[in-house]
């Protein structure tokens, strides 16, 4: 009786270990997959960020800003003599 119990317990424990090992490996694979999916999303977001940074840099083009100020806002370049310092 005791011998049988020991054999069953031994086999059951080992089956449990095998199941846990399989579970562990599949969990690792699942998490690795999730991690890589997030990494890919991060890469896409970084690309979008870079694109937006380029757009901002292009929008700061001083030539276009000057042209816009002169033609659209009808601004005129200021001369040094026209500037006066106000005492505070």
């Amino acid at each position: 009786m005791k011998k049988n119990f020991f054999t069953y317990a031994f086999i059951t424990t080992h089956i449990c270990f095998v199941v846990l090992l399989i579970y562990k490996n599949s969990k690792i694979i699942q998490l690795t997959y999730q991690k890589q999916t997030i990494e890919m999303k991060k890469k896409e977001r970084l690309q979008t960020k870079e694109q937006l940074t380029q757009n901002i840099a292009a929008a700061y083009d001083q030539g276009s800003i000057k042209e816009f100020a002169l033609t659209q806002l009808h601004m005129v370049p200021v001369q040094l003599q026209q500037i006066k310092k106000i005492a505070t």
Binding site: I28, I29, T32, Y33, Q36, M40, Q47, E50, T53, Q54, A57, A58, Y60, D61, Q62, G63, K66, V78, Q79, L80, Q81, I83, K84, K85
Partner: protein
């Protein structure tokens, strides 16, 4: 019957035995003899070495916010010649729209991979997309974008493989590019994107950004002024340099003709040259400032000593012919006026007393030596050494011939005057370290004397157009003939105006330079001084020095 059975059994036995032997031999070859080959073949299917390149570092202006160079992916189109599925579509398309690629295809039809074109324009991308040929595929490649094109001479550009080609991109290529990282990925044999494990095989190095001393707004303002001058004077070349003499920071460095660093398809190599650093000129009378400074330092003359300039355009000093421009002709005047009026005869008569010492002074001032600025291929400049002097040399050197200098060297020399005799090395890289001479190279008296002369040159001399009320402007002009085929050509000139603007502790060194204008009989006072004046005013407004 029994015998036939035995024969049949024997044949079948040998047949199977042969098959087993073949299998065993084969197994021997696979498992033992070629073991390493098949092991590596299997490894290749499961494990993959991936090299990842860090994004190239940005180049920023002195604020650390405005990009001078940034990353922008470009698109390349490619085909796989060996495995083309629709040859009948691809070839006519290439022949019509990409003849170069078509020619290359004829040579490379057996290859696995071939670029059709790289750095495609939006028009080309649309063209390929509309053609809808499955064999032609796109590939994203790292590239560069330069938001301040006027700084192209400084930043330089990268080549098609994103490696620095010239300028800061070349000099700091390693720092900007970083070092690629190599990783080993473990995959299942069929896996595409995903992997089980990732290990670093070789550590990389992150890219580092580069902060320059340039002020992008001032760079733009200077560029606008240069463009205006080039159009008005129809000049062949125009350059300008604005520097903070106290720390050597170059705030603006512009040269025309220029190029668009974002459009390098048909690049004229000559237009990419940074003529402020990479080219030296015989600058003419602007060098008189330093000859006079040397004379003051050596006690050869004082500003009030009277010099006889003979009231003539041409004379002979020690048997050598000396010419001076009509506007500078004068009689007996104090030495200060010789410089203010830029009279060649007067300076020649004084400087001859210096002898070889003049050469030493020019070398101390940094002429004929690189400044060590962080830029590739800096020009040394040249000062004719005493052992090669002719009888004319001492006179020529006094008014800016037989000495060639870069505009950067000129700015550094004016920086010595601004810094009361201390030499500060110019720099393009933003750093707190100032490379400054331990001791002043000139006495305070000599510096004060030359400053007063430069100020008077603006108030009543050849640089009157540079006068700005409320500010101390000290400048000197120079008009020099160009040396063409060994002879000085009087109708081809360069015009320079260099000086210092000052208010309180605020100082800027400005160099304005114009090369060759079609108009004859003009001098630096009418060509380079207005440019200097415009640059000075723009700088003062920009820096809020009111």
């Amino acid at each position: 019957m029994n015998r036939r059975y035995k024969i049949r059994a024997t044949i079948i036995f040998f047949l199977f035995a042969t098959i087993f032997i073949i299998i065993l031999v084969n197994l021997y070859f696979i498992q033992i003899k070629n073991n390493s080959f098949f092991v590596s073949l299997g490894e290749k299917q499961y494990s993959l070495i991936v090299t990842s390149y860090p994004p190239r570092g940005a180049i920023l202006d002195r604020t650390g916010k405005q990009f001078l160079a940034m990353n922008k992916d470009s698109i390349a189109a490619f085909i796989l010649p060996k495995t083309l599925a629709h040859k009948e579509q691809v070839l006519p398309f290439l022949r019509k729209h990409f003849p170069n690629a078509y020619e290359r295809f004829k040579q490379s039809h057996h290859k696995d991979f071939m670029y059709i074109a790289r750095r495609l324009t939006p028009e080309h991308i649309t063209l390929i997309e509309q053609a809808n040929i499955p064999d032609i595929q796109f590939l994203q490649e790292p590239g560069r974008y330069y938001p301040v094109p006027s700084a192209g001479h400084v930043t330089g550009i990268t080549d098609i493989d994103n490696k620095g080609l010239f300028g800061l991109e070349l000099l700091f290529n390693q720092r900007l590019a970083g070092k690629p990282m190599r990783r080993s990925l473990h995959k299942d044999a069929r896996s595409g994107h995903f992997y089980f494990d990732k290990e670093i095989v070789e550590h990389g190095e992150q890219e580092r950004t580069l902060i320059t001393t340039l002020d992008s707004t001032l760079q733009f303002l200077a560029f606008e002024e240069l463009k205006k001058t080039q159009e008005e004077c129809q000049a062949q070349e125009v350059s300008a340099l604005i520097m903070n003499p106290s720390n050597g920071h170059i705030l603006a460095m512009v040269t025309l003709p220029t190029f668009n660093p974002n459009e390098t398809r048909n690049l004229d190599v000559e237009s990419t040259k940074n003529k402020i650093i990479n080219e030296a000129y015989e600058l003419g009378s602007v060098i008189k400032v330093f000859a006079a400074l040397a004379c003051f330092q050596e006690g050869v003359v004082s500003p009030d000593d009277l010099i006889d300039c003979e009231q003539v355009k041409t004379t002979y000093v020690d048997g050598r012919k000396i010419n001076t421009v009509p506007s500078s002709v004068t009689g007996v005047v104090p030495f200060s006026q010789v410089i203010e009026k830029s009279n060649n005869i007067g300076i020649a008569k004084v400087v001859k007393n210096l002898g070889n010492t003049l050469y030493d002074h020019y070398m101390n001032l940094g002429f004929g030596k690189r400044t060590g600025i962080e830029f590739p291929s800096e020009h040394d400049g040249f000062v004719n050494p005493p052992d090669q002097w002719s009888k004319q040399s001492i006179f020529s050197l006094s008014y800016g011939y037989e000495i060639s200098a870069t505009l950067l060297q000129l700015a550094r020399a004016f920086g010595i005057i601004a810094n009361n005799g201390y030499r500060v090395e110019p720099t393009l890289i933003f750093t707190q370290n100032i490379v400054k001479s331990a001791l002043p190279l000139y006495s305070q008296q000599a510096i004060n004397d030359i400053k007063n002369i430069l100020e008077n040159t603006v108030l009543k001399g050849s640089a009157q157009r540079a006068r700005i009320d409320g500010y101390r402007v000290m400048a000197k002009t120079g008009t020099a003939n160009l040396l063409i085929n060994g002879q000085y050509n009087t109708s081809r000139n360069i015009y320079t105006c260099a000086g210092i603007i000052e208010k309180g502790n605020y100082q800027r060194v400005i160099v304005a330079f114009v090369k060759e204008v079609p108009k004859t009989g003009v001098y630096a006072s009418t060509i380079a001084v207005p440019l200097f004046d415009a640059l000075a005013k723009k700088t003062l407004i920009h820096d809020h020095i009111i």
